[in-house]
């Protein structure tokens, strides 16, 4: 009996939590006049018209924004996986002068609010003539600036037996060989986690894309979506919801496919 009650309560809770999302999905399938008529979920006159309208109503095909976001996301994923693993390998397996200090510095940057570097980074990127290009979003990921991922990988590498390194060394591997042939393959669960979170966070990232991008054809999905209101006026709620749904789909798909990895990755951060 208790169990049934718990299930009823938990299901009701989940429904309340997810109701706004479900409602947005169905609202995107309704004509504008119907959206505000009642709070139910079933569209009376379902239509895909909002999607057609929204796709091109900012003057630029929405596919352009999606492509821009995908380019930035792909680059960030590659950058983070590559450079964070190099950094993590050095911290986890190599001895060098200043190791402790630098490791402490790396940990400290995890908690550092990005605003402290924001203004100076902006002026540096401006001097490099990188404003209104993708570089300010991409380059930092190739310099292992997301210390959270470095930390995640350091923890993971520490759980790989050192004996494997020693065996590889006897077989004639240097540091690079060990990294390339032993660590990288065994690290792949952490690399996948890093890739997934890099993708989701970059896809959703609004702030840096807002301040660095201005040309309409260079905009990314979040910035374009936010500009949608200005372009169409707030009357086109159906089209706005349709485009909102499109921007959420990649994240939802990644979540459904990698659900276990994502939840385990989250849990991992709290325990080690």
């Amino acid at each position: 009996m208790r169990r049934v009650l718990a299930h009823v309560g938990l299901s009701a809770g989940a429904l309340i939590m997810l109701y706004p999302l479900l409602w947005m999905l169905t609202a995107s399938l309704r004509p504008n006049t119907e959206i505000f008529s009642h709070p139910g979920l079933i569209p009376e006159h379902p239509t895909l018209g909002n999607y057609a309208l929204g796709w091109s109503s900012t003057g630029t095909n929405f596919g352009v924004y999606i492509m821009n976001s995908l380019i930035i996301c792909a680059a960030v994923v590659i950058g983070n996986v590559l450079t964070c693993s190099l950094t993590a390998y050095a911290f986890a397996r190599m001895t060098f002068v200043g190791r402790k200090t630098l490791f402490g510095l790396m940990l400290a940057t995890i908690m550092l609010p990005g605003h402290v570097t924001l203004i100076a980074q902006y002026s540096i990127f401006r001097k490099l003539d990188w404003i209104d290009t993708f570089w300010p979003m991409i380059v930092p990921s190739f310099l292992a600036t997301d210390a959270f991922f470095v930390f995640l990988m350091v923890q993971f590498i520490r759980s790989i037996p050192v004996e494997l390194d020693d065996a590889a060394r006897i077989d004639g591997c240097g540091y690079w060989g060990i990294y390339r042939r032993i660590i990288l393959p065994l690290l792949s669960p952490a690399l996948v986690t890093t890739a997934i979170f890099s993708f989701i966070w970059t896809w959703n990232n609004f702030f840096s894309q807002l301040i660095y991008l201005s040309t309409r054809t260079k905009l990314t999905v979040p910035v374009a979506l936010r500009g949608f209101l200005d372009a169409t006026g707030s009357s086109e709620w159906g089209a706005l919801f349709a485009m909102s749904v499109i921007t959420l789909v990649p994240v939802v798909v990644v979540f459904v496919v990698f659900q276990r990895r994502i939840l385990a990755g989250m849990a991992h951060t709290g325990l080690k």
């Binding site: 989940a14 959703n204 301040i211 979506l225 919801f241 921007t247």
Partner: protein, 298 residues
């Protein structure tokens, strides 16, 4: 010494990207923005040294002080609520119910999407005067209210948005609960401890490092919230500055008014505030965080 440095060389080669990043994108910009914070700098001019002027001006700027207040209310209300929900649902889910994985995934979805512009736009609609919430209230004959357009309630819609995302700390709590050995709880039960006693006296102390971890992270994150306030208020922080988050005001000063020095000073004060809160957490944490048992590793 030279020999040791030579031995270190391979490691530094591996660390090269990170070293460039930490010097060029973290430490360098930190120092540079510290310098800017003592100058009058509008991006196109050379920074002009003004000493402490930006800092003293901050604390005479009523909008700044207001943004500070708004942010404190937001952090102070949303974080405890979010943590309470996260812990309560985690405990409910941790009783060997079937379908745990499904619930866990469903409750986590809002955390995954919550920071996106799409959700902020959705929120704007839900709490608008003819939005979803008022349609529901209308079913019960309750007169609606312009939740987002009224200064008295706008901030609360943003607090609700954050609390809605309790799934992320919940997942971490669940993992922590799983580390608590069953025999400890069984022993307490044998000793006659009731459900509540077991929770307060056994589960919570053993979980306290995880509570602490979540608390620190959530506070740091909440202080930096930006996207929902920006999107919902159209970048203005309205109505009547009721959603003027700290970071939103910083954005307005830097990229609206090009007062880069002023914004840099704001960023440094934010760093100080976050450092103080984190430090305070660590100091107070000693009184309630319990690291004694092998069941909970840190």
């Amino acid at each position: 010494m030279i020999a040791r440095l030579r031995q270190s060389l391979p490691a530094y080669l591996f660390l090269l990207p990170w070293l460039i990043g930490v010097l060029g994108l973290t430490i360098g910009p930190m120092l540079l923005s510290l310098y800017y914070s003592f100058t009058d700098y509008a991006l196109l001019n050379t920074p002009e040294w003004t000493g402490l002027h930006n800092y003293t001006a901050l604390f005479q700027d009523s909008r700044y002080l207001h943004s500070l207040r708004v942010t404190f209310i937001y952090v102070g209300v949303s974080v405890p609520l979010e943590m309470t929900f996260a812990l309560a649902v985690a405990v409910l889910l941790n009783r060997g119910l079937k379908g745990l994985a499904v619930y866990r995934a469903l409750y986590y979805v809002p955390s995954l999407l919550g920071g996106s512009v799409a959700i902020a736009l959705l929120w704007q609609q839900i709490f608008g005067s003819d939005g979803l919430l008022n349609q529901f209230l209308g079913l019960f004959g309750i007169q609606g209210h312009g939740w987002i357009s009224e200064p008295g309630t706008a901030l609360w819609t943003l607090i609700v948005l954050r609390v809605w995302q309790f799934g992320a700390p919940m997942v971490i709590f669940l993992a922590g609960l799983r580390q608590i050995p069953d025999d400890v709880l069984e022993a307490a039960e044998v000793d006659g401890a009731g459900r509540w006693q077991r929770f307060w006296r056994v589960t919570l102390p053993l979980l306290s490092p995880v509570v602490f971890f979540n608390l620190v992270l959530q506070i740091i994150g909440a202080f930096q919230a930006f996207t929902p306030a920006f999107v919902i208020s159209g970048g203005k922080g309205g109505p009547s500055d009721s959603t003027l988050f700290y970071t939103l005001y910083l954005y307005q000063q830097a990229f609206g008014n090009f007062r880069m020095g002023y914004a840099a000073a704001m960023a440094w004060v934010l760093l100080l505030i976050i450092a103080v809160f984190t430090g305070l957490n660590f100091v107070l944490g000693r009184t309630w965080v319990f690291y004694g048992d092998e069941g909970v590793r840190r």
